[in-house]
Symmetry: D2
Subunit: 293 residues, 4 copies
């Protein structure tokens, strides 16, 4: 029951008058999350486990990424899993652990919402709500995100063109919420060495077409721990406003995405490299508290 020829390619929403477009709003949108500015001069680093598995795992990982230099903590309480028999996330219990982790580290938290009915609950806990790749075309959810009053980290669908992606983002903006952070996380191609193919050229294209901040998730894109740092650095070079990486206190025991999760020490090392890279581009990595460095 999709509509129009070329599938989603007949992008009626792609017109210059759309709210997402630079023509409509030439200035970069900068989103302030508890004092952290996303889309400004400083690069924002989001890190944390794929899923919140238990209190200890989350708190330990949160402290590790915090001391490593992360600005925002990620962690899923509701997990979109291929099989109904896989771990589906801890639900509200997971949200509570996230809340506790925020209290202990001071890091704002971003966590995924999958269902319109969860929106209110998730917004009660999260500083930023995430709409995942599989939900990019969940229009009712996008409409709710447009009214939720929280910044939205909105991931590109793994088979969505850039035009379709921006049209989907328009659903959120047209609902009244301009605080949308875009995220390139790999697209599906025939190549099977990597989990997906990181489309880094999408970053400068998005930055040219829209005023919204753009970050990159090299963890899901590559699916391999060893590829995450190098692709994260490239993401900064092509103009990303930040990166989101999976870090786990014990990747080898992770309930999901273990193979692509960094060890805490890898993360700390990556942060140092990103600072050097950022400098070349005339930016720097956000320092929540420079004295912590």
């Amino acid at each position: 029951m999709e509509t129009h020829k070329g599938d989603y390619q007949n992008n009626e929403g792609g017109s210059a008058s759309n709210l997402v477009n630079r023509q409509t709003n030439a200035d970069d949108t900068v989103i302030n999350v508890n004092g952290i500015k996303i889309g400004g001069e400083e690069l924002v680093i989001i890190a944390g486990p794929c899923a919140v598995e238990n209190r200890e795992q989350l708190l330990e990982t949160a402290k590790a990424v915090c001391s490593g230099g992360a600005n925002i903590l990620r962690g899923g309480a509701y997990k979109p899993r291929t099989s109904p028999y896989s771990f589906q996330g801890l639900g509200e219990e997971g949200l509570k652990y996230l809340s506790q982790a925020r209290k202990e580290t001071g890091l704002p938290i971003v966590t995924e919402v999958m269902d319109t009915r969860q929106m209110e609950l998730v917004c009660k806990y999260a500083d930023i709500i995430q709409i995942g790749s599989r939900s990019m075309h969940n229009f009712p959810l996008l409409k709710e995100a447009g009214k939720c009053g929280k910044p939205v980290l909105f991931k590109r669908g793994l088979m969505a063109t850039i035009d379709e992606y921006l049209s989907a983002a328009e659903y959120i903006l047209s609902g009244g919420n301009q605080e949308v952070i875009l995220c390139e996380r790999g697209i599906r191609t025939f190549e099977n060495y990597t989990r997906n193919t990181l489309d880094l050229s999408a970053v400068p294209i998005l930055k040219r077409q829209t005023h919204l901040p753009v970050i990159v998730d090299p963890s899901h894109a590559t699916g391999h721990r060893w590829l995450v740092p190098v692709m994260a650095k490239a993401a900064i070079i092509v103009g990303a406003d930040g990166i989101m990486v999976e870090v786990h206190n014990n990747p080898l025991e992770a309930l999901s995405d273990g193979q692509q999760s960094l060890f805490p020490e890898d993360f700390g090392k990556l942060m140092k490299e990103l600072e050097i890279i950022a400098e070349v581009t005339g930016r720097k990595v956000y320092r929540r508290n420079p004295s912590m460095a």
Copy 2:
């Protein structure tokens, strides 16, 4: 925040013990909708407009497809549109028109649900609920469909492998609802003459792997009216249990999908051809009321 390597390719749900699998249930699942049996010997034809646009359009089209030989009426009241500024469907008003069309023609109705919060309302009107291509990975919606008590027409995502598709169907079955009708509707490829590429080999593969009925939607797959009949016939040859086609009383004025909608007279002609094709395969097209033929 998706989970597991190979994206959805790490199909933990693909194990032989899954409810969707033939190993679990060797007999074909046959779904009875107001006396029409889907997945049995007879082929089922679902036809109607992409969207319910207004009462007159729907009733006129419904009568046309009924007299042409359709068994079930389709029509969308909630429309997933690329742009938020496109026609989004009539909502409950559309459901009421569908209900009226059922009353006037006797045809059961299938209509899409996009939001968990709509499930109850849509189920009040629909004989079969549809979960569209863009919602294939909307797991909360699939879980609700598992408890809704209505048959579910479940379309393959345009980016989903067959394994991922069956794992997603498992969400519905594991929720307690075995009445799932699968639907191949084209996958995204690099070819751009057609809207998508109809993957007809998916039909025999699905029939081999699962006991669920499988139908084909050649309208969305091809995006071109002239290609619909020929691909519908091929779908029957490869073993589909029915087809779903878009028919509009006035395709040139349709609010969505006009280019791929059949004229009523095309539909009548197609039905006659399908009867001949069905016979070759040892089946026949379902006749709601043979005296109407």
Copy 3:
């Protein structure tokens, strides 16, 4: 060093004045190979092993497909193999065995040419030369094929759009050779159950756009023996002028493509089914010698 934006998508060759186009030549091109007409009312069946492995294997398979009802024998003497360490074909020795098989069965032979320098030699033996999927963009080879004086079985590249395919065919026609048989053999997609995805909608599209005959190769497209017959039948329904299938006297011992090669008895059974399917479409399978049936 490829040229032009959109990769090969900027199809300057796609203009209406091209020799391949129906606008240029409305009548179907019918190619006469030793009395067998390809592209006419009767369907042509090409069968044989992937590779010529030795004299016995070829002759035995040739006799089997001949008595099963094949019209043309296929078999590769020069094999494009992924690895340089795989069996590369018998070369001229293989051509000689093909020639002998023709003598013993009366079947014309089609065999692949990969190198401009082989063209003369292959033409000495073959009734039809084949240009394989991997060579679709080998323009020097296409130019030679345009001058070779033999009909050309020209396979679609697994990564080629229909427009690019027709532009490549134009190289052969513009060289002076109008005897080109097109062949859909599957395209590369993300689906991995099948070797490639058979794009059956390409058949009616090609038949509409060009006057050239179009056949389908379900063996390479699917990669699975059990899928070959069902997809072959669908190919006829969508308007193919024939099919090409791999048959091996002993598929379990084949040096290449064993998994997708039919057993001789499968082939005989398929032929009977194709006759029934052909009739529905108002055509029939070519009978080299009806008395042999």
Copy 4:
């Protein structure tokens, strides 16, 4: 007539004993072309027009890229064009102009060979022969390249997996020529903003799997002039040993690829940026003659 299931995915050539593999040869292969070392510590920059159009265009562009800091001059004398009616290159005349440009600038030249019969002629003029994306599976050509005695710039096919690409390279190495330079130049995906999708993660993967040098061509990958510099910089960050870019003395009048060709002044600016980027990675851009800078 391709061989084996999974198309080229059944990569028999992918075994650890292959000549391309790091396990076979742990040390980086460094190729010396007239004193310029490709694959060593210094980055190599290849620049020039898509096609050699005439003497003046080539010489002017050659001087521009030379003074801009290029190390090697590119330019096609034989052009693989989608349509037979497009400009096909100047042939040997083009090779002569390249030779003259080398004389005037001192830059070694790389130019494409498409036909086994051209190999000897092209080798007479070229310092490096190029095998283009469309020829990646032209195995006879690869075998000739294995014996040609010149370094080979070997581009990835636009729909080839990394495994298939390395297996194809093995054809050249197994023929006796280890001087192979790999080149990522974009793969075909559903995204249509860019000509292809530059697969930058392929670079670290190739560097890990093989000892051969790896460069990146951002011009063909993106198809847009404005995207070339930013993607070139990212290529260096991910570990490429150099880049190849199209530069034209007058892109707006180019006979091919004008939209993606840099103006000479863009190229000069890019070189300065690449020097800064190189430094961050602990490398530097090759300076043929530092006094020229």
